[in-house]
């Protein structure tokens, strides 16, 4: 009999029929077969479960990844947006420089020219886009602002060595390059051709093939190291192609010449300006003047480049170096000094503006880079004595990150786990911000951080309070939340910033309100509870129910074993039990949730609840009610008083007075209580 395990099924060449055959062969009798079947079934179930588990696991990962991807996508979108913006700026810049040379044109003709130019430009762009839509993996045709199509058509490529047909091509001739595309044989969608290669016009040589044996109407394109031969359908088409190539080449040469001329003319004035002063009168007053180093003369251009390339640190360094050099003794009287210094100052302004923008949360700022990404701009701004602005912006960024992080926490499960998580996230981001802040800013800015932090705390607390202090939220879960927040806050003290006071001051009002509301709720319902009470022992129905009840009460500090009758009955009325639970909860929670300055609120709560209960009891004369009343006075009252003292260290004077008024004999706590009521706490 063979074992049944996964490995057998997992092999790729597993054939179920064969497996079953083998199995039946090796098994003796139906019973064994049934066993095998059972085993296989189990295995299948296990696998299914494992699969499910895996799927769930992967699913969570998948969701996380998906959100991450969507984040990235938006980032990419932003980036591409930025890039296209830049491109527009660049094209407008290049156009501007061209127009700058034609200043002699009258304004009107310029406008006209512009309009026509725009239309032509539009057409050109449309044409190129339509081409890129037809050609698979096409190069970016719109890269060059003045690219336009000169000619296109189908050609047959011939093997240059062997004169045999190779493939059908669709060829595009632009003014600056030749693009070869092959036909897609089984095309789907709008793509008709597949991009093969492109050659810049400047590296192309076109040869008219006069004689190539059997191949007629061909021309050759030499683009080292490739030689490509194309055959046309007719002489006219070939002539067209050759003419268009000629045109492209001529345009190219003209452009090159123009460039060359421009360069020459640009060089010329420079030469003149450099030479003429040395020949003119100026030579006489400052014969000993040292010329400025080249890099200082060109510093403004260099700064521009660095700013555009976003090397902010380098920009700053260059600026400082240039200023330092210019302020040296030997250039004191240099005529260009003032001018260059002024220019540097302008650049500095530009740079600070960019940096400030960089830090501005409202301006394309992305939380993904984290706080660290804001480091370089802040450092440079600090050096420019703009610490305050930088600090302000930096803290804005911090607020943003804190907000984003807190927002990231989802309200799932209990309110407690949510508050706990929020607290953790909040204080973590706060500590991140603090460490970064200490690195970036001088000590005297710390006050700004403290103000900021307490403000953040206030914002957070106002949010949490809205969610926690609601009528639906039980008093003890409110306590849990408050305690976890306090804990986090205490932990944060380790970073050297104690925000506990701020936190407590935020919590004060809602806590008082919550306690008071709770008190009122109890007093309100007390009357109905007491009048509705039948004044009989309460039946817990089962032993388990009884045990549950007993542990519940024990957690509150009351041992009620003495009051159990017939295993399932409690020798107390329902309203009494309810009262005991309420009053002990109020005291327990109240004492933990308040700070010392709110003790009177807790005292007041306990007192009012107790006294209202006692007032109702004194008018009721059913004997069982009197028994319960006695229980409250003799058992509950001392317990409450004792717990209170245990918790805060002194007596609850108000309640003590009440007890005396009702004639409760408060024995020295230790003796009477331990003999009568034991609780885990006191042992």
């Amino acid at each position: 009999m063979s074992d049944i395990n996964m490995e057998k099924f997992a092999v790729p060449e597993f054939v179920p029929e064969r497996y079953v055959k083998e199995l039946t062969k090796s098994c003796v009798g139906g019973e064994e077969l049934a066993q095998q079947k059972e085993k296989i079934k189990n295995l299948a179930e296990e696998t299914a479960n494992a699969l499910k588990k895996n799927v769930y696991e992967n699913y969570m990962q998948f969701i996380e990844t998906a959100t991450e991807i969507s984040h990235l996508e938006t980032e990419m979108y932003k980036l591409s947006h930025l890039l296209s913006d830049q491109r527009i700026v660049l094209t407008t810049l290049s156009q501007a420089s061209i127009l700058g040379n034609e200043n002699t044109l009258s304004r009107e003709s310029l406008d006209n020219h512009d309009l026509e130019g725009e239309r032509a430009e539009e057409e050109r762009k449309n044409k190129l886009t339509s081409i890129s839509e037809k050609v698979e993996s096409c190069m970016n045709l719109l890269d060059f602002p003045d690219r336009h199509l000169l000619h296109e058509g189908d050609l047959l490529e011939i093997d240059a060595e062997e004169n045999t047909a190779l493939q059908r091509m669709h060829v595009y001739l632009f003014n600056d390059c030749l693009m070869l595309t092959s036909w897609i044989s089984n095309r789907r969608g709008p793509m008709r051709y597949k991009f093969q290669t492109s050659y810049p016009i400047s590296t192309l040589a076109v040869v008219n093939v006069r004689d190539l044996g059997t191949v007629k109407q061909a021309f050759k394109v030499l683009a080292f190291p490739d030689t490509r031969v194309f055959q046309c359908n007719s002489i006219a088409i070939k002539k067209d192609w050759l003419d268009k190539f000629d045109l492209a080449k001529k345009m190219h040469i003209e452009k090159e010449n123009l460039k060359q001329k421009k360069k020459d003319s640009m060089d010329k004035p420079k030469h003149e300006s450099l030479e003429s002063p040395s020949l003119s009168v100026e030579e006489i007053p400052s014969p000993q003047m040292t010329p400025l180093p080249d890099w200082v003369v060109d510093v403004t251009e260099e700064l521009d480049v660095l700013i555009v390339e976003r090397h902010f640190q380098k920009t700053y360094e260059l600026m400082m170096a240039a200023q330092k050099t210019l302020n040296e003794e030997e250039y004191k009287n240099h005529p260009q000094k003032c001018e260059i210094l002024k220019k540097i100052e302008q650049k500095q302004k530009v740079l600070t503006e960019i940096l400030l923008k960089e830090l501005d949360v409202n301006h394309n700022w992305s939380p993904r880079g984290g706080l660290r990404s804001s480091r370089p701009p802040v450092i440079i701004l600090n050096k420019f004595n703009l610490t305050s602005q930088a600090c302000e912006l930096f803290l804005d960024i911090c607020s943003h990150t804190v907000k984003a992080h807190v927002k990231g926490v989802q309200l799932e499960g209990s309110i407690y786990s949510y508050v706990k998580q929020v607290g953790e996230v909040f204080f973590c981001s706060l500590s991140d911000a603090l460490t970064e802040f200490i690195v970036l800013f001088p000590k005297n800015k710390l006050s700004a951080f403290i103000v900021w932090a307490s403000m953040q705390l206030r914002i957070l607390m106002s949010q949490i309070i809205k969610q926690v202090f609601t009528p639906q939220c039980a008093l003890d879960s409110v306590l849990e939340c408050v305690q976890s927040l306090r804990e986090q806050c205490t932990l944060f003290c380790e970073f050297g910033l104690d925000l506990r006071f701020q936190m407590n001051s935020c919590l004060r009002t809602p806590i008082i309100r919550a306690l008071k509301e709770y008190k009122e709720k109890i007093i309100d319902s007390m009357k109905t509870k007491i009048t509705d009470d039948k004044w009989t022992p309460v039946n817990m129905h089962t032993k388990a129910g009884m045990n549950k009840f007993l542990t519940q009460m024990e957690n509150l500090g009351l041992i009620l074993v003495r009051y159990v009758i017939n295993e399932t009955w409690v020798d107390l009325s329902s309203s009494t039990i309810w009262f005991v639970q309420s009053i002990i909860t109020v005291q327990n929670v109240g004492l933990k949730i308040v700070t010392k300055d709110m003790m009177d609120v807790v005292d007041e709560c306990i007192y009012s609840i107790f006294s209202s209960r006692l007032m109702y009891s004194s008018v009721n004369d059913v004997s069982y009610a009197q028994k319960n009343y006695k229980f409250i006075l003799d058992t509950v009252m001392p317990l409450i008083l004792k717990n209170y003292k245990q918790e805060v260290g002194y007596e609850n004077e108000k309640l003590l007075e009440l007890a005396k008024k009702y004639g409760v004999n408060i024995a020295p706590p230790k003796k009477s209580n331990i003999t009568k009521y034991t609780s885990n706490e006191y042992l």
Binding site: L166, R168, A205, V207, L212, L222, A223
Partner: protein
């Protein structure tokens, strides 16, 4: 299951052929091609405008002399000839003398294996220009020993000769290349210049193939010499 390279090549061709528009195909192009094409030698005609590059080419190709002059842009011709008993193909690229942009000429020169540098013996300017062509070719090919012939054309116009024979020979010697005088009109030496150049190309190619087939040392030695030169 394995296909050798030539079979693959055939397959590719058949496949490509299947996609082609039949109208575009020249008659016979798709018929079974000979197993191997004869060796191809690529010759480039260079020289100033009007010195007779095209006339020489046409005389060589078709045995005819074209009297009227029309500036060439860039034409190519191919012909099967028998070189010392072996069938070869010659590919002639007839370039434009008046190409006004020298940089574009580079692209033509790169494809050549041998050069016929033509001037007219009646035109000293064209002789002067050969210097520039020579330099450009050496720069583009980066090879001092590129097959190269200096050709003085229009030898039939001996009475109008303005470039002395000695000057021509001197220059050829300085370049260490053969000098030949031709007449496209009378066909004098026309075949000779093409065949001489093809021989040079052929011997150059066999040198190279020997070098790549193991005789690396010899090639390196030659290279070394070039570098010293």
């Amino acid at each position: 299951m394995e296909l050798n390279v030539s079979e693959l090549f055939m397959l590719r061709k058949i496949y490509m052929g299947g996609m082609m528009c039949p109208r575009l195909l020249a008659p016979g192009a798709m018929s079974k091609k000979p197993a191997t094409q004869p060796t191809l030698h690529k010759v480039i005609m260079v020289g100033s405008g009007g010195v007779g590059k095209s006339a020489l080419t046409l005389q060589f190709m078709y045995d005819e002399f074209v009297e009227d002059y029309e500036p060439t842009k860039a034409d190519s011709y191919r012909k099967k000839v028998v070189l010392d008993g072996e069938e070869v193909q010659i590919d002639i690229l007839d370039t434009a003398g008046q190409e006004d942009y020298a940089a574009i000429r580079d692209n033509y020169f790169r494809s050549g294996e041998g050069f016929l540098c033509v001037f007219s013996i009646t035109e000293p300017e064209s002789f002067d220009a050969t210097q520039e062509f020579r330099e450009q070719i050496l720069r583009v090919k980066n090879d001092e020993n590129i097959p190269f012939l200096l050709v003085g054309n229009k030898s039939d116009l001996g009475d109008k000769r303005r470039v002395p024979l000695d000057a021509c020979r001197e220059r050829a010697a300085a370049w260490r290349v053969p000098y030949v005088e031709t007449s496209a009109k009378t066909r004098e030496n026309v075949d000779k210049v093409f065949f001489d150049l093809m021989r040079e190309i052929r011997s150059r190619k066999s040198d190279d193939s020997r070098a790549t087939n193991g005789d690396v040392k010899g090639k390196r030695r030659r290279r070394m010499k070039c570098a010293i030169l």
